[in-house]
């Protein structure tokens, strides 16, 4: 087994025992990048020198046995939405090309302090707007299971890199499914924590009431390890939750006996891929055999979630993206006639088609005469969606759903039909609207060999229970062990 294909916890054991050095591990990952990156295109920045330097430092730490964490010397990658001090941060947008942040996002700071080796920044849909990574201004990331297909999005570079061994794990962000959907489409594990569990400081804002950072990993244990490191209160993010961070590994192996799992009847919709439905129903049976109590629940407002989300998210985005004006950083159009001309042309040239579409939609939803009918209404429906979950969690401990209605689709298949693309987020969006944690993990393969993902949704701040259920499921099935060959 090549070092690049290890999990974090496997690599950690070898590093601790001195059987592998952080430098060897990092070199293995960098060689893997050399081998496959031309076909996958998961990175917008690769930092070989910085990674090797961090690896040597981690080696010293391990030798002295000083401040060693489960992440010391582990090569990871980071979605290009997080500010990295001294390393270009673009959000895969032309408008931020050349932007070198003067500070680290809190997530990045915590990873560095833990001794992680950052190999580079992952490609994404521009400003995290998309479900396929086709909206990157720079390149289209390919799905390692089938290069004709998308890796999902917006954290598609992260999921593809983790699946093919270009990093052991990655940190993504999830506004409407951007961690979980690409994890499902690439056959890896993706966790969106409770809103506010992880600091958003230094994470470039898309929709501030929905955005949340989380890990993309090769197994559930690794997700628990990474969450433990990045979670926690941060005074620099006023929405960050001031609650203690539990040890997510403690009790992860307690099994699912007696655990009440709800299956929402509204999540098995028409147009859903038959193989996805079968795989998720089969997973429910497996969990039942393992002692879980599976019952049907109802989330009656599910069908309104996509419309609600695309009003709330675009309204917030239209406001957040007002900061890209050609003044403080990033791109500015050549020879502007005056200030207004500079704003308008800089933004038209700097933003890609989907970003402009969403700014337009959000601006429309907030504009005079439409505010109440669209944005106001969506905020009210958001309350109803949140209540659906509160009611369901009165009866069950966790909820099990498919992650995405279909496996990975072909590059180009949905790019000309925005509404069709939006509907591919139908099962992941409700979690963000309600602020709840959701975890995607592999639960089978199509006959054509594409990974299928399922999702566990938990109560607010109860990541531990969904991690436990996922850990148990993974240990009795082993889907996560299958790897794409390239």
């Amino acid at each position: 087994m090549k070092p690049y294909s290890l999990t974090i916890h496997e690599a950690h054991r070898l590093l601790k025992d001195g059987e592998l050095s952080p430098e060897e591990l990092t070199r293995s990952v960098l060689e893997r990048i050399d081998e496959v990156e031309e076909r996958i295109k998961a990175f917008v920045t690769i930092d070989r020198e910085g990674a090797l330097k961090a690896a040597r430092e981690a080696g010293e730490r391990l030798k002295r046995d000083e401040g060693v964490t489960p992440l010391t010397g582990i090569p990871i990658s980071i979605k290009d939405i997080f500010c990295t001090k001294g390393m270009e941060t673009t959000c895969s947008s032309r408008i931020l090309r050349g932007f070198v942040p003067p500070y680290d996002a809190t997530v990045v700071k915590r990873l560095k302090e833990a001794g992680a080796v950052i190999v580079g920044k992952n490609n994404m849909d521009e400003f995290a707007m998309g479900s396929s990574t086709e909206n990157s201004a720079f390149q289209i990331t390919r799905n390692p299971w089938d290069l004709e297909r998308v890796p999902g999005g917006s954290s598609g570079g992260s999921a593809a890199a983790v699946a093919i061994g270009e990093s052991l794990a990655s940190i993504g962000t999830d506004t409407g499914g951007s961690i979980r959907q690409p994890a499902a489409l690439c056959g890896v594990v993706g966790l969106k924590p409770t809103y506010g569990r992880v600091s958003r400081y230094g994470m470039i804002a898309f929709a501030s009431s929905l955005d949340q950072a989380g890990p993309i990993t090769r197994d559930v244990e690794d997700a628990a390890i990474l969450l433990g490191i990045i979670a926690g209160h941060d005074p620099l993010d006023s929405t960050s939750i001031d609650e203690p961070v539990p040890d997510y590994l403690e009790g992860i192996g307690r099994g699912v006996k007696g655990l009440k799992i709800g299956i929402p009847k509204e999540y098995f919709i028409e147009g859903m891929d038959k193989e996805v439905e079968e795989a998720v129903r089969e997973a429910a049976k497996t969990l039942e055999k393992e002692g879980a109590v599976v019952e049907e629940v109802s989330l009656p407002h599910t069908e309104y979630a996509v419309a609600t989300y695309y009003l709330v998210a675009t309204a917030e985005a239209s406001s957040n993206l007002a900061r890209y004006d050609g003044v403080k950083y990033g791109y500015r159009v050549e020879d502007p006639e005056n200030l207004l001309d500079m704003y308008c042309r800089t933004r038209d040239k700097g933003f890609g088609a989907e970003v402009k579409r969403r700014i337009m939609l959000g601006t429309y939803a907030l504009s005079a005469g439409y505010y109440e009918a669209y944005y106001g209404k969506a905020c009210q429906v958001r309350t109803l969606i949140k209540r659906d979950f509160e009611e369901a969690f009165g009866k069950v401990d966790i909820i099990l759903t498919p992650t995405s209605p279909t496996p990975a689709f072909k590059v180009g298949e949905k790019i000309d039909d925005p509404l069709k693309m939006y509907l591919s987020d139908v099962f992941t969006i409700p979690c963000n609207l309600a602020g709840l944690p959701g975890l995607a993990l592999p639960c089978g393969f199509t006959r054509g060999g594409l990974p299928i993902g399922m999702q566990f949704i938990g109560r607010a701040l109860d990541e531990a229970t969904i991690l436990r259920a996922a850990y148990h499921y993974q240990s009795v099935t082993g889907w996560h062990l299958l790897k794409p060959s390239l």
Binding site: N338, D348, K356, R357, S367
Partner: protein, 97 residues
């Protein structure tokens, strides 16, 4: 419900986007379809339902009004497309008279 080219131009101006005629046409068609889909929300009676703007209510955090270190001016200006004597520089605001 349709959305006219005129409305698209107005919204684009509010968002400070100068769209090309092709973009205007594409967006008026696409936004009309998306907004049509959003009309679905009108099926629901939301009388008396309060809005949710924040999914997990957290108390307003207060802190002492203390001077804290910040990014030095030079570094804060490093990414600016244009600058002069410690300021961000922009093109003239009012047209030449």
């Amino acid at each position: 419900m349709g959305i006219t080219r005129e409305e698209v131009r107005h919204v684009a101006f509010l968002a400070r986007l100068e769209l090309t005629p092709e973009e205007e046409e594409l967006y008026s068609e696409q936004l009309a379809r998306i907004i049509d889909y959003m009309e679905k929300l009108k099926e629901l009676d939301t009388t008396g339902i309060g809005p949710t703007t924040h999914p997990i209510p957290t108390p307003n955090p207060y802190r002492e009004d203390k001077v804290q270190p910040s990014i030095p001016q030079e570094e804060a200006l490093r990414n600016a497309p244009d600058k002069e004597r410690g300021f961000f520089k922009v093109p003239r605001i009012i047209g030449e008279g």
